[in-house]
Structure formats: structure tokens, C-alpha cells
Amino acid sequence: MQSQVLALNVGWAEWPLKTLGVLGVVLLPAGTTVYLYLFKMVSFMQSRLGPMEAGPYGSMQLLAEVGKNLQKEDIFPAKADRTVFAMAPYVVLTSTFLLALIVPFGPEAGFASLDTGNFDATTFDGVGVFYAMAVTSISVVGILMAGWASASKYSLMGGLRAAGQLIAYELPLILAVVGVVIQAGTLSLQGIVYSQINGEIFGFGGLGLPYILTQFVGFFIFMIAVQAELTQAPFDMPIAESELVSGYLTEYSGFRFLMFFIGEFATAAVFGFLGSVLFLGGWAVPPFVMDIFGIDEFSNWFNFIGPAVMATKMLILTFIIYWIRFTYPRFREDQLQKFAWKVLIPISLVNIAITGVLKVAF
């Protein structure tokens, strides 16, 4: 019974702490990635001077940007549907927060566990991954709301395009993860981490078995789908500046624009967390490292090291996301849809079939 309702098994005193924790998990990586990648890395990559004025080496630039956006006037377009217009960014952020809620950062470090059944680290059951995929899809509604309520045809077109794209890439995202779920034999995120720790590569257990090795097809599809879910280039058709003048974001400014902006980067970070749990072994370090230090995967140490490990892996994955974003030109709308339906989905289905056969065979 305790495990049943995700929110109720938390002592009441933990609530403020956990709330702050979720805020931190969503906002800190968002800020980090914005600063590291959007300000600094892209400047290096594109050989141009990035922000250098605010603070030493431009380190205060982030605060300056936030401050600038907070100061701006909160504009509602004249014909806009004010309630919906105001609600839209919150809906998008809700999706991100709900997603961040279930990421495990250590054996017991996490905000909410959706696991049911036995908790003895051998049989995990629950709806973790499925929940993650489900809450991802909430953001579509927020985007449609933003597009519609702005009372602008650019926004509407951008919103519809974004929704179409998000729905189209939701499928490969889910299907890519199914391979991992089949291999781990559980939907629980914690269970997936443990099964990667306990995995063996041809009898060699020193590395565990990060599923990126066996599910590399799934990993590629996952990363591509994430790229599209985040509407990052080359999948940034919905906010195409040159033709849709920023799509569904056209009419947003100031604080609400900031919320969308944070939502985008925070979602990237949370997907980075999710990707590292699913494919890179989560909060764990390779078992041979554990052996060196004489600890095992149930050790309390991991409640402290885990978040750092996760952050490292997340930064690697988000690096890839932004690297691709700043490298490739934009897809055309029909190419984008074709790519999802005719390439990614068939490949991921084949991947699932092969994974299933191999799971039964080995």
C-alpha cells in the first residue's frame, strides 16, 4: 500500500526539500547547458566571439539574460485568449517536471519511485519508463495551446507543425526504449539500472552491460527522436525563424518566453538523464571501479556519487544534442515526417523484433 500512490509514500517533512530538489534538477542543468553549450561551446564551434562582458569570461551572462527577460513587459496580443495564452508555458513545464520526478539518481536518491512489487533489487516492477513516455506527451498540448491562443497565423502554423512533429517522433522514442525494456525485462528505471550493472559482456562483468552496447540502434533512434522532441535543429521546423518567425513562440515575450526557453533546455537535460539511465548505466559506475573501491551497487555511497555520475553522463548526452543542433541544417517539413514514419519507425520495429528473438534465444 505504501508504494501505491507515488506521492503519498513520502514523509511530509521531505516535501519542501523534494520540491526544491525537483526545481534544482530542472533548473540547474538547464542553466548549465545554456551557459556551457549555448553560450560557450557554440562560440568555439562557430569561431565567433561569445558573451564576454558580464562577469569574468562572461560567466554572469546567464543571470543577465534571466534578468533581462524578467524585466520585460508581459505582453498579451490584443486578440489572444488570455487564459490559455498564460497557461501554455506552465503546461509545457509541467511535462518537464513530471519527467524529472522519476529519474533515479542513486539506489535511494530520487523524488518519486513508481516501482511496485519487490524492492530487493532483483525483481522490479512498475511503470517507470512508460510513465516517462506518457508525461513527455503532455508538452504537445501546451504547444498547441500556445499556438492557438496567440491569435496569429504564424503561431498557429508553428503550433500545428510542432504538434505533428512531436506526435510523429513520440513513436520512435517509445519504440526505441522498448528494446531496452525487453532486454532489462522491467519497466522500472531503477530495475534497468540494476540490470545494466549486473549484465555481462560474454561473461565479462567488469563493465556491466550498458545497453548502448547491445541497443545501439535503439540509442541512435532515441537520440534522434529526442532531438526532434526538443525541436532542436535539424528538426526545428516548427520554430523556423526564416519562415514562421519563431512559430508558436512568436507572440511570447518576457517572463513567459523565458519559461518556454527554460522548458526547452530543462527538457533536454532531463532527456539526457533519461538517456543515461536507459543506455549508459544510470547512476552506477562500471562494476570494476566498484570493486577497486570495495563497494557494491547497494552502497549508500551511490546516493552521493550517483547524482554526480548522472550529471556527467547527462552533460555528455546533451553535448551530443547541441553538437548536432549547431552542425546540421534544417529538414524540410515533408522530409521530417517521412524520416519519422518511413525510416525511424520501421528500423525501431525491426530492432524490437530482433531484440525479442535474441532475448528468447540467449
Binding site: 511496485t116 510513465y131 504538434a163
Partner: protein, 182 residues
């Protein structure tokens, strides 16, 4: 809100009833209010958004009932797919901003009468059958495990499952055939 529920949970010695009842009360008030607004509002998109609230509340009810997989499916399919599809439909047909006065049928008393009658009959029969009888109590129930759900779908309910998959395919083809432009 949930914090207060949790507080009650501890105050009552982890007894399930009180916090769950409070949670249920809050959820049902939200659900019923949103549902009422959904059928009365004059704005199609607002109506769809109220539906979103109802659907989310229903998902919460599922969690309260220990059906977590159904809850996740509710969110994924209803909110992620069906509602988005409905919004698409609204926007492709008549996404008018602001109110729309002729959304309702003039003679709404017929509908009102039928539904009130229906409500009275259903409430009466439910209350008559279950009421606050002891055998209607939900005590100490376990959350239903996802693995069990999967097992029973692929063994006991395999035939309905296959039928549903065929139905989905048929609906897919049917929708394409009906809506294509040629």
C-alpha cells in the same frame, strides 16, 4: 495538497482511508467541475482543455485505485494522442477565438432531462446495491502489478487483444480512406 494528504496519512497512523478519501474528494470535485464546464463553455478549445483536466483527474483516480499502468496509458493515449487529435480537429475546422454562441442546441432541456433522469436511476441503483455496506469497502488492496497486467493480456485476454489490434488497423485504414482528399 498532496502534502496535506501525506500529513493526514501520518496523523492517522498510515491508515489508508482518510488521505485517500481526501485525495478522492479533491480529485472528484476537480473532475466534476471541469466536466461541467466542458459541456457548458462556449469556447471549443476551452472545452478541450477542460477535457484535459477531466482526463488527468481520471488518471489520478486510477492511481488511487492502484491501476498505475492504466493511469500511464490514460496519460499517454488520452492526453498525448486523443486530446491532441481533438485539438487538431478543432483547429482544422473552426478554431475561432473567443466565444461561440451557437455551440449549444436551443432545446437543451431535453438533454438535461434525460441526463438527470439517468443520473437519478444510476445513483439510486448504485446506492441500493452498494451504499455504505461493508462488502463495498475497499480495504487493503494491493496495487496491480504491471507484470500481471501484461501476463493476463497475453494469456487470458489474448483474443480480445488481437481483436483490438485488428480494430486499430481497420480504424487506421478507415480514417485514411474517409479523410483523404481525392
Amino acid at each position: 495538497m498532496l502534502a496535506s494528504v501525506s500529513l493526514f496519512a501520518q496523523a492517522t497512523g498510515n491508515s489508508w482511508d482518510l488521505p485517500a478519501n481526501i485525495a478522492f474528494g479533491i480529485i472528484s470535485v476537480i473532475a466534476i467541475g471541469a466536466a461541467l464546464r466542458m459541456v457548458t463553455t462556449n469556447n471549443v478549445v476551452h472545452s478541450a482543455l477542460y477535457l484535459l483536466i477531466v482526463l488527468a483527474s481520471v488518471a489520478a483516480v486510477y492511481i488511487l485505485l492502484g491501476a498505475e499502468f492504466a493511469a500511464a496509458t490514460q496519460v499517454l493515449v488520452y492526453i498525448g494522442a486523443i486530446l491532441v487529435l481533438l485539438l487538431f480537429g478543432v483547429m482544422l475546422t473552426r478554431a475561432r477565438l473567443g466565444g461561440d454562441e451557437d455551440l449549444n442546441y436551443e432545446q437543451r432541456w431535453i438533454g438535461l432531462g434525460v441526463s438527470v433522469l439517468l443520473f437519478v436511476v444510476m445513483t439510486y441503483s448504485i446506492w441500493e446495491q452498494y451504499g455504505t455496506k461493508d462488502e463495498a469497502r475497499l480495504v487493503g488492496y494491493e496495487p496491480q502489478r504491471t507484470a500481471e497486467v501484461a501476463d493476463s493480456i497475453f494469456s487470458t485476454y489474448i483474443v480480445p487483444f488481437e481483436a483490438v489490434s485488428v480494430l486499430l488497423l481497420a480504424a487506421l485504414i478507415g480514417a485514411v480512406v474517409v479523410a483523404r482528399r481525392d
